[in-house]
Amino acid sequence: MTPAIAVVNVSKVYRRYQQKKQFATLKSAILSGTLIGDLKPDETFQALRGVSLSVPKGCTYGVIGRNGSGKSTLLKCVAGITRPTTGTVTVDGRISALIELGAGFHPEISGRENIFINGVMLGLTKKEIQYRFDEIVEFAEMQDFIDAPVKTYSSGMYMRLGFAVAVHVDPEVLLVDEVLAVGDQGFTHKCLDKFAEFRRRNKSILLVTHSLDLVEKFCDTAHWLDHGVSKGEGDPKRIVAAYIINVEDSEENELAKAEAARVAAAAKAVSTPDPVEGVEPKAESGESPAESGEGPAPAEPEGPKDGFKSDEGRWGTREIEITNVTISGPDGEAGHVFQSGDSIQVRMDVTSKDTITDFVFGLGLFNADNVCVYGTNTNLEEFRPTEINGVGSVTFTIDKLDLVEGTYRLDLAAHKADGYPYDYHRLLYTFRVKSRIRDVGIYRPDHSWSFSGGIKISSQ
């Protein structure tokens, strides 16, 4: 059986022209023969590199990948809107592409007339549209407004009508580009039902989406694109899992890079002027480092002067110096992305040149809104310092990271019991918490649900 869609070794090169090319005249184009020959680009951008895929009839095929990975270009090649630079695309049967909904609507004329025009554009005859008209209107939930000009429609109505027309074209092959977010829950369900119906009738769907849930639940096969290269094809669960790991890795790299830059900048800003004794950041007078969440004044002399925000930086006398900080997950490896519920360890390596007897180690945890989620120090928890000399390390362990999904930042500090800073690292360390549960808030208490009586409920 021939596949519904066969994409063989497709590459697509977009051409970018220099600014001055925009002003190229017709005369020069004719003289240099570019009109008849080929325009010569200054720069090319390869959106797809040798991608192959085959969608059998009746298969729902999901394409995932990060922004700029070439998903939409692939879809446009399959739809025939752009032609691949090399390689071939063959599609068996009528295509309907849900790339932009209602793209052909004319704002001045009524929804009713637009349905007919859009239908003709998608390849139906007038009679076929007449036959499906009521179904389309009902599907779009537009009975009351069908005779109003389309320009008066809300964007949701516009898209629903576009969607309704496109799926009622009765295509053999349906191409969908991230358009399921067009209505309320009810409408989304209706769209999914429509897709399920397509499947039953042995039609094929090529779906491009960022919704991994949808791919897992709905697709028979998934395909992962990354920078125009095919990274894997097969069972949706497996591909999605591989994709998630990759995304986390690159998030990890980004966070690590940003953090390294921040720490380096803070270190540089501090190393220039010698810290002046006795002049402390006023927020430091608090007992707990967490309290500095109120914001240390940017006026502190040791604080970073140039460029970056006052709420992030490093100051202190460095009598005790925090030389290195690592955050590590349950596997003991340093990282920046953790699953909610993991155990994590924050470890600071410290050095002190002289013997110091008055010292406190503190930690503050902030969420993306700069709300202090938690703050503590060794003084508050009634550790009595005896002395520190030479090299040592402090490890703060959280057994179960009960935080909701989001990005968190850490304050780490070594200071005197009265707040006088030795080395204060303000919001320099970042980690991200991922969670399968989409709960909200700043803290997830240990909890469970139980039900009794006439309630029937089950977890997925």
């Binding site: 977009y14 325009l39 809107i81 592409a97 790339i99 932009e100 793209a103 004329i109 554009m121």
Partner: protein, 264 residues
């Protein structure tokens, strides 16, 4: 190219629908609606009659009366031509959404522009007929058989030009601005508000190079001047020329077709 050309025939339903949409949308919201298709040429005629019968009184020969009718025979088809050319240059850019987001045969857009303007031209014809009756200028019914031929030649020529210009404007947006002036110049280089005979003899050979000259003279001979249609040889030659223009326009359009989705 010829495969695509054959596909064009299949799009006739689409073209028809879009022409109707264009016409409906154009006057939607205006009080007079479709009547503008009659009023616009009428108003234009009044302006030209005023200028040539009240201001520039001695500018034309006596036997050219009624001069307003003479001009109208040319202005009406010229309006079709000029608005087609001007609008078509922008039509691909305006329809960018269709080209980029929907599988849509791009050549339909300039063709629809020309066709929609042709329908406007037809709406103006009753005004012309009204004037013919008013001035009691009988038209030889046999000569009138030439009329559809002239329209067909003009249609072919205009579509060819529209295809060429719409495709080029995607790459050279300057054309859009340039065209306004070019069309104005073209208007005066065509015997519309002056008869061919009144043009200086040394200019006449140059005017003969202008395809629109022969179209306009044909309209004038059929509708205005008494006597047989003596210009038909030119018209037939132009007919073949128009087919060549159409094929050339379509060839360039087809060459540039793949770049539209990226450049629009």
């Amino acid at each position: 190219m010829f495969k695509n050309l054959a596909a064009l025939f299949r799009y006739r339903g689409l073209i028809q629908t879009l022409v109707v949409r264009d016409l409906k949308a154009r006057y939607r919201g205006s009080v007079l609606g479709f009547f503008w298709s009659f009023f616009n040429p009428l108003l234009l005629l009044l302006i030209y009659s005023f200028v040539f019968t009240q201001v520039l009184v001695g500018a034309h020969d006596k036997e050219m009366e009624p001069y307003a009718l003479f001009m109208f025979c040319g202005i009406l088809p010229w309006t079709w031509f000029s608005s087609s050319v001007l609008e078509s240059s922008n039509t691909l850019i305006a329809g960018g959404n269709l080209i980029k987001k929907v599988l849509f045969p791009a050549e339909v857009l300039p063709i629809v522009t020309v066709m929609a303007n042709m329908v406007h031209f037809f709406f103006g014809l009753p005004v012309l007929v009204g004037f013919l009756i008013y001035y009691q200028r009988p038209v030889d019914p046999l000569e009138l058989l030439w009329f559809p031929v002239i329209v067909l030649v003009q249609l072919t020529f205009t579509i060819g030009l529209a295809l060429l210009l719409s495709a080029l404007t995607v790459h050279f947006r300057d054309l859009k601005d340039l065209l306004g002036n070019m069309v104005q110049l073209w208007f005066f280089a065509t015997p519309i508000i002056y008869p061919m005979l009144q043009a200086p003899a040394n200019m006449r050979q140059w005017l003969n190079f202008n395809p629109m000259t022969h179209l306009m003279i044909s309209y004038q001979e059929v509708l205005f001047f008494p006597g047989p249609h003596g210009h038909w040889k030119w018209l037939v030659a132009l007919g073949f020329g128009s087919i060549a223009v159409f094929l050339f326009g379509y060839f360039v359009f087809d060459r540039l077709r793949d770049s539209f989705a990226e450049e629009v």
